[in-house]
């Protein structure tokens, strides 16, 4: 697969469609699986990793699935291409830069399925869906898991379930994450309260890029911590229930903002578009903050003629590796800030003239 063919696409998690897509950006489910009879990847020799990678690659190629998975050998990729796949949420930072030896990722053309090979576990299956789609994502990944299991012997224990390198993943090996855009809860300073409630019920919250109470771009991922002792559907139902409550809070906060300070909200969105369209240097963090304001403005109907998909495209294309691939050259930090500003200006002008 030539990664440049992915460049103009948006990828499943940023399509901006699907149920509850005014707040829910995407749903992701991953399963950690290991092959029986092999040490886990952290203790495997290069030869053992080559063997597990070959077995996984063979199973991925022959699995009976409604889509084709293309295998990409990660050590053979340039650092820029690896970073590109990280920004696309298709591989982890670990697989891209920290881990060594034979490893790879298998992807489908729509970028909704990815299988990392020789990450912390031999296999990390991942299915992405835009919007809130926990049941659909589970059905997809369950089938993928069955198709791979038919060709690979998994490490499974009668008491502990699917065995994983880290005991925090043992059992189902499943981590379900829902990415939420929560700008109004951030603006009305209610987000901390939501986090405290989530931690009490054993759900983890983190920003798209690292920890912190106010994540860049108001994007938060909520996921299950417990993987042992509950069935997959039960875990998913519990997350789904909590997400519905957060959705309600965020929408209430959005409505309250509009009702109580409509003009100020209009001003905030207009300033965000203004800065995005006129800056000559802009960081990725500031871009995300401003795009977050614009995205909220779109869903509050304060902006009529800017599609949410365009905001998502600007969001992904202004990330460091995407920007460098679009410009066709390596850029250092300052150069990237200038190139990012130029890209945003051009894109917003194109949109303006199309109106």
């Amino acid at each position: 697969m030539n990664l440049d063919t992915l460049l103009p696409n948006l990828g499943e998690w940023l399509r901006g469609t699907g149920p509850e897509s005014d707040v829910v950006v995407s749903t992701r489910i991953r399963l950690a699986r290991n092959l029986a009879g092999f040490p886990f990847a952290n203790r495997a020799s290069a030869a053992q990793k080559a063997e597990t990678a070959a077995k996984a690659r063979d199973a991925l190629a022959k699995a009976e699935l409604p889509y084709t998975l293309d295998y990409i050998d990660v050590p053979g990729l340039s650092p820029l291409d690896r970073q590109f796949l990280v920004e696309r949420q298709l591989i982890s930072r670990e697989l891209a830069t920290v881990l060594e030896g034979p490893r790879g990722v298998a992807l489908d053309q729509k970028e909704s399925v990815s299988v990392m090979v020789n990450e912390e576990d031999h296999l990390r299956l991942q299915v992405l869906r835009s919007g809130l789609a926990l049941t659909e994502a589970w059905e997809d990944i369950d089938k993928l898991d069955d198709a791979l299991e038919a060709r690979l012997g998994y490490a499974f224990h009668d008491q502990f379930g699917f065995l994983t390198a880290c005991p925090t993943n043992v059992g189902t090996g499943m981590r379900a994450s829902v990415m939420l855009h929560l700008p109004a809860l951030g603006l009305t300073k209610q987000i901390e309260k939501v986090f405290r409630a989530l931690q009490k019920i054993n759900l983890a919250v983190r920003g798209l890029h690292g920890e912190g109470s106010r994540a860049f771009g108001d994007l938060y991922q909520i996921s299950n911590q417990v993987t042992l002792g509950k069935s997959e559907p039960k875990i998913l139902a519990e997350i789904g229930e909590v997400i519905q409550t957060i959705l309600q809070y965020e929408r209430q906060a959005r409505n309250a903002l509009l009702k109580e300070r409509r003009q100020a909200e209009q001003d905030r969105v207009a300033r965000a578009i203004g800065t995005l369209g006129s800056a000559t240097m802009i960081t990725s963090e500031e871009t995300m903050e401003l795009l977050s304001a614009v995205r909220l403005g779109i869903h509050q109907r304060l902006i009529e003629d800017l599609p949410a998909t365009t905001v998502n495209q600007l969001f992904i294309h202004t990330q460091a590796a995407h920007l460098q691939k679009l410009m066709g050259q390596p850029l250092d930090g300052e150069e990237r800030n200038a190139a990012r500003a130029k890209y945003l200006k051009t894109k917003l002008r194109e949109l303006g003239s199309a109106r």
Binding site: R43, E119, A150, C166
Partner: protein, 168 residues
């Protein structure tokens, strides 16, 4: 309730029961963060409990239960990993350690997941193997019942075996 490391209100509570002795660890968010209890797991997974930090904190939060010598000396027969190495990295070396380190792992899993047994999906291959075992057992008992001329029991076991086969 206050944090055991500073006096801020505690937001994280971990309970450990060893030899019927209950120990509770209470932390506030900043202390949990400072001790990297919820450090990002490798692999881009959402912030999960960081096992070495958890083990360290439980040791530091009051009188630690004496680590049984046999726990410290546990070594994996398959890959040679020692329990101490697992404690340092939080990563197991191979599937065999779930049995080899079981005395130490079971309480740890209970602390992390509040459960100690899988309740989710079972691989098809495992389900098939279990069915084969059940069938073999039914046939063995059926043959024994026939030998004892307990034909009623033999017929019941035959029906049960047929039902098991039909489930395939």
């Amino acid at each position: 309730m206050t944090c055991q490391f500073c006096d801020a209100p505690a937001t994280v509570t971990l309970t450990e029961i060893v030899n019927k002795q209950k120990r509770v660890l209470r932390l506030c968010d900043p202390c949990a963060k400072k001790n990297k209890l919820f450090a990002d797991a490798p692999g881009g997974a959402a912030g999960t409990v960081h096992v070495p930090a958890l083990l360290g904190l439980l040791g530091a939060a009051g009188p630690a239960p004496a680590t049984p010598a046999e726990t410290a000396a546990l070594t994996c027969p398959d890959c040679g990993l020692q329990y101490g190495e697992f404690r340092a990295t939080g990563r197991l070396g191979c599937p065999a350690e779930y049995d080899a380190f079981r005395p130490a792992l079971e309480p740890l899993l209970t602390r992390i997941h509040r459960a100690d047994a899988h309740a989710g999906k079972t691989p098809r291959a495992v389900r098939a193997a279990r069915r084969d075992d059940r069938l073999q057992e039914l046939r063995r008992r059926m043959a024994a019942a026939a030998r004892d001329e307990d034909y009623e029991e033999a017929a019941r076991l035959r029906d049960a075996a047929r039902q098991e086969e039909a489930g395939q």
